[in-house]
Symmetry: C2
DNA sequence: AATATAGGTTCCTTTTTAGAACTTGTCAAT
DNA sequence: ATTGACAAGTTCTAAAAAGGAACCTATATT
């Protein structure tokens, strides 16, 4: 598979990875969620080369995840801010952080704690069914081909969708 | 920042990306969740080079996300299966798929639909607070430094954590 | 006139990835 | 007994991506 064709694949995961699936993009977005907006601050915090940072920011803007917003004129300076589309990546970020908290922490535990403003407690994210509200694990979900994709995904879903134990 | 030091960063997102944050790893894991277990099947489905596939599988095994399990002897053949640690990445996968379904689909809609076995309905994932059960968005969460990290993350969290609008 | 700032671009080197051919141990067919 | 197939790699060379440093542009400050 060619990397440039990833956003044309018949798979939403592949299409999302066309946007965020490289070495740096999710770290840039992490900083965006921390409130970082300016080129030089991203550069310093991440230790990314300017060339790559320029490229990734352009890509994120072109996909509508970030948008440029002027914060001064003469000379024109713009900052990069999360769009609504970008803000909706929050569950992904939270999922990655939560897995890292559990499986990649050292003896000091989680570096950052998340407080739910509404209830005031330290929280971690929990994934639920949109329909019944129950918590979900991999074994609770069955996959099938979407109505408009019948016959086009025959070899994508293996015959034996296999319980993954 | 050096890429090899990513799993030592004081950030759970960075540490998780040390495991899954490259071009191919999440696509390999997607196939694992679809029930794929063998080297040649990964290779054919992904169009990945054998060299890189070997490398990524080794890495995933070394981090305990996959484990090798013999399915025949003479000659010894092993397959790659998701460990419990790997299965716990499901919320991340689901989050990426869901975002792609919403933002990257063409006119045919989502290629794959998810049915919640318990309630029988087509579902999408919803992220909730582990403590009160409410649904969560980026604006509902406040970040702060973990107890054992006081004073070590001063420049990680910007002074003004900024609402991300 | 010299320096600083923000946001880049250019150039060259090093690291990764792509693509194809080769390897190893075993079994099945000629 | 030889040939070919299979699964899971390893080894090569070439192309693409990333790293690192220097340079550029418009404006404002000293």
């Amino acid at each position: 598979m060619r990397w440039e064709d990833l956003d044309q694949q018949p798979c939403s995961l592949a299409r999302t990875l066309a946007v965020v699936g490289d070495r740096w993009t999710l770290l840039i977005l992490r900083d965006s969620f921390l409130g970082i907006r300016r080129f030089d601050v991203f550069e310093q915090r991440l230790g990314i080369t300017r060339h790559v940072l320029t490229d990734r920011l352009k890509k994120l803007v072109s996909y509508g995840v970030l948008y440029k917003s002027p914060y001064q004129e003469r000379p024109l300076r713009e900052e990069y801010r999360l769009s609504d589309k970008g803000l909706e990546l929050y569950p992904v970020i939270l999922g990655l952080v939560s897995w890292g908290d559990k499986h990649m922490s050292d003896e000091r535990g989680a570096p950052i704690v998340h407080t739910h403003k509404t209830c005031g407690l330290h929280m971690h994210p929990s994934t639920h069914c949109s329909e019944c509200g129950d918590a979900i694990t991999a074994k609770d979900v069955k996959l099938s081909v979407g109505v408009n994709w019948q016959g086009h995904l025959d070899e994508f879903l293996p015959k034996k969708p296999a319980t993954q134990t």
